[in-house]
């Protein structure tokens, strides 16, 4: 179960964006990196595990024009590949990739922005590392870019463009259980709630399409072949990825869900929403009956609903590791 650790103060507030907290644990150095997007900047802090040292860094959106809102960053996330960790920033202008400590930008991909402003917004959003060498990024048009990442160096190339979604991509997730048996490698979600399930490779293969119900799916996870999707209605749904069978439906929150995260070894699921609450769930898979059980959890001795006078919107994430620490930040 989760226990609260020392709070970390970021340099500035978090912007109201989906999945706005990314965490990277670096065991060999006993450090954890956290990133939070603030308008056209990313605040990064590296925290030592003994809680004694904190080091802050800020990354700017490329081609940031200080006075305007046209270079806002939509998301920042670490992509963990076998040989390296890449920090990816997606903005209205394009996609920036950095070495894990944010010190060197290794790749820049500019989005096609039309000459005159169109009614349809242009931006990149949704980031996932897939298998050994791919980084996938979603676009507001519904396309997804697949980048091929070498073991080291900056020779990152655009390998494929997946055109399956018709609405803006909201989130991408790759299989996080660590199991190699799972057929599905990645799931993508869009603004109409449609989910696409993919198998990676030279050419990505669409395994299944799970239709939405006209409500945006803002956050998605893939764990042991199960898609966990959070919607604008505050509902969480669990599907079997390759077949689309609905395992469970949870009336989880009273407002839009902004973030989901799973601790892959324990099956603990976190959901954070605009209702100012973070809820903890436990997922249990029963392969024999092909079912998933969901139960609500409370953190012992700690009421996650903060006192009325302090409640603010939250976005949350947690490291993909057995340490099971919970990190929440306030925003707006």
């Amino acid at each position: 179960m989760y226990h609260k650790e020392k709070s970390i103060q970021m340099k500035s507030s978090a912007s109201a964006l989906y999945n706005n907290l990314s965490v990277l644990r670096i065991a060999p150095r006993s450090l954890t990196y956290f990133t939070v997007v603030h308008a056209n900047m990313v605040n990064m802090v590296s925290a030592s595990w003994d809680g004694l040292n904190y080091s802050h860094r800020q990354l700017q959106s490329k081609e940031a024009n200080v006075a305007t809102s046209s270079s806002l960053i939509m998301q920042a996330a670490w992509c963990v590949l076998p040989s390296r960790d890449i920090l990816v920033l997606t903005s209205q202008k394009g996609i920036q990739m950095y070495e894990s400590d944010g010190s060197i930008m290794v790749y820049w991909h500019a989005l096609d922005t039309p000459e005159t402003q169109t009614a349809q917004a242009v931006f990149a959003r949704g980031i996932a590392a897939v298998r050994e060498k791919y980084i996938c990024v979603g676009i507001s048009s519904g396309s997804m870019l697949v980048f091929d990442v070498p073991i080291k160096g900056s020779n990152i190339t655009l390998s494929e463009v997946l055109e399956e979604h018709k609405e803006s991509i909201t989130d991408l997730a790759s299989e996080c259980s660590g199991s190699l048996e799972c057929i599905a490698d990645m799931v993508s979600a869009d603004d109409s709630g449609n989910l696409c399930v993919w198998k990676s490779g030279e050419d990505f293969q669409l395994l299944n399409k799970i239709p939405g119900f006209d409500m945006s799916c803002s956050s998605v996870k893939l764990w042991k072949g199960t898609v966990v999707a959070g919607y604008g209605t505050g509902q969480i749904r669990l599907y079997e990825a390759v077949t689309g069978i609905v395992h469970a439906e949870v009336n989880a929150h009273a407002r839009w869900i902004y973030s989901l995260d799973i601790a892959p070894f324990s099956g603990l699921l976190l959901s954070a929403a605009e209702d100012s609450l973070v809820r903890v769930w436990h997922l249990t898979m029963t392969p024999e009956t092909n079912s998933v059980e969901v139960t609500s959890q409370t953190i012992p001795g700690r009421n996650l609903t903060t006192p009325r006078t302090h409640r603010q919107t939250l976005t949350a994430s947690l490291p993909l590791s057995p340490s099971r620490s919970c990190t929440c930040i306030t925003s707006v």
């Binding site: 006075a67 009614a119 006209d214 604008g232 009273a254 609450l277």
Partner: protein, 370 residues
């Protein structure tokens, strides 16, 4: 982010501004027993409201507003509202204008944040529009412009999806990010904390389309429900209310965006203020060049002294850094205007042009021409 945000930002902020000005103008109203002056003041109030609304809903102005574009910078938007507030014979000095803008922006931030669904921001806009329509119901020429704006709002926004509305909402929240000015009405009602943050309730009706949290349903492979679990949601949520009307007329249901100053108690210092106002107006000088009428000044504070004090003691970080623009043709004025336009021109490095056809030939230029 969303290129459809500016009309909503402008209309809602404008609506809040009108609520505040209307309340202040009424508070400075002279009671009937002061004979002749009474009618004159009442007429002036209506005239001020009409003049501002006429400017707000100017046809060309709105055409520019509704074009797809990124939001203006905070500085540029503040300048637009400065111009708007002075589109009549009313005058506000720096401190009062600052306070007016603080109230307007915090009120709209509150409304955006508390909207149950992202789409409800449209209902909030309609609440403001409904009130504006009521302000000008006796002036057919402006009324028709207001009606036209309703149609444009309906045309542009009703087809949008939930995700697109959420993008608009996020764009607005990022615009208002880090604004934590304390507003006495909000503090009093305990919807704002002493640190300036708004309180998000965990009670009340759930939004349209959302279920009250508490139920987990689990299914078998063939879709049959096999298990149900309940959990305590920790809040006090109630069932969804009926949906508000997204048409030109109809009950909006949501209260956000309605006039929260309506039931404010009358100012006990009114009589003193009136005397002060009468004195000021008697000795009024024309402040802006080329202005035929002698304007009268509106104070957003209880007394002149308070207003002056507020100006002196205003913390630097709250400074709006307003650029004063003279509506004259001199080179320097043009350069400043062009510089502001340059701030929110899309392409970085685009050469600033003062020609009428340059990119960003927009609201400010429109306002100058009015």
């Amino acid at each position: 982010m969303s290129s459809r945000t500016l009309p909503l930002l402008f209309i809602n902020l404008g609506g809040e501004m009108l609520y505040i000005l209307d309340q202040r103008l009424r508070a400075q109203n002279i009671p009937a027993d002061k004979a002749k002056k009474a009618d004159w003041i009442e007429d002036d109030r209506r005239r001020v409201m009409n003049d501002i609304i006429t400017t707000m809903f100017n046809k060309k102005f709105l055409e520019e507003l509704f074009k797809p574009q990124e939001l203006y910078s905070k500085k540029a938007l503040r300048t637009v509202f400065d111009r708007l507030a002075h589109a009549s014979i009313m005058r506000l000095n720096q401190a009062s204008m600052d306070k007016l803008y603080d109230l307007m922006t915090m009120a709209f931030k509150y409304q955006v944040l508390l909207c149950p669904r992202a789409k409800d921001i449209l209902l909030v806009s309609f609440n403001h529009m409904d009130a504006i329509k009521d302000f000008v119901k006796d002036t057919p020429s402006v009324l028709s412009q207001v009606d036209e704006t309703y149609r444009q709002l309906i045309e542009m926004y009703t087809p949008l999806s939930s995700g697109e509305f959420q993008l608009i909402r996020q764009t607005l929240l990022i615009f208002f990010q880090d604004m934590h000015i304390r507003v006495s009405i909000f503090l009093k009602d305990k919807v704002q904390n002493s640190n300036g943050r708004f309180v998000l309730p965990i009670s009340g009706p759930v939004p349209h389309g959302t279920h009250i949290p508490g139920l987990i349903r689990m299914f078998s492979c063939n879709g049959e429900e096999v298990k149900r679990l309940q959990f305590r949601n920790g809040g006090n949520y109630t069932g969804v209310l009926r949906e508000g009307s997204f048409e030109m007329f109809g009950e909006r249901v949501i209260k956000l965006g309605t006039n929260m100053y309506v039931n404010t108690a009358p100012n006990p210092l009114a009589k003193e203020e009136l005397n002060m106002l009468a004195r000021l107006m008697g000795g009024m000088e024309v402040q802006k060049p080329g202005n035929a009428d002698s304007g009268f000044r509106v104070n957003l504070f209880a007394t002149d002294e308070e207003e002056e004090e507020a100006l002196i003691s205003r913390p630097d970080e709250f400074s709006y850094d307003v650029i004063k623009i003279q509506a004259t043709k001199n080179q320097q004025a043009n350069a400043e205007l062009v510089k502001i336009m340059g701030d929110f021109t899309e392409e970085a490095g685009e050469p600033c042009s003062s020609s009428a056809n340059s990119k960003g030939d927009d609201l400010l230029a429109m306002m100058d021409g009015l």
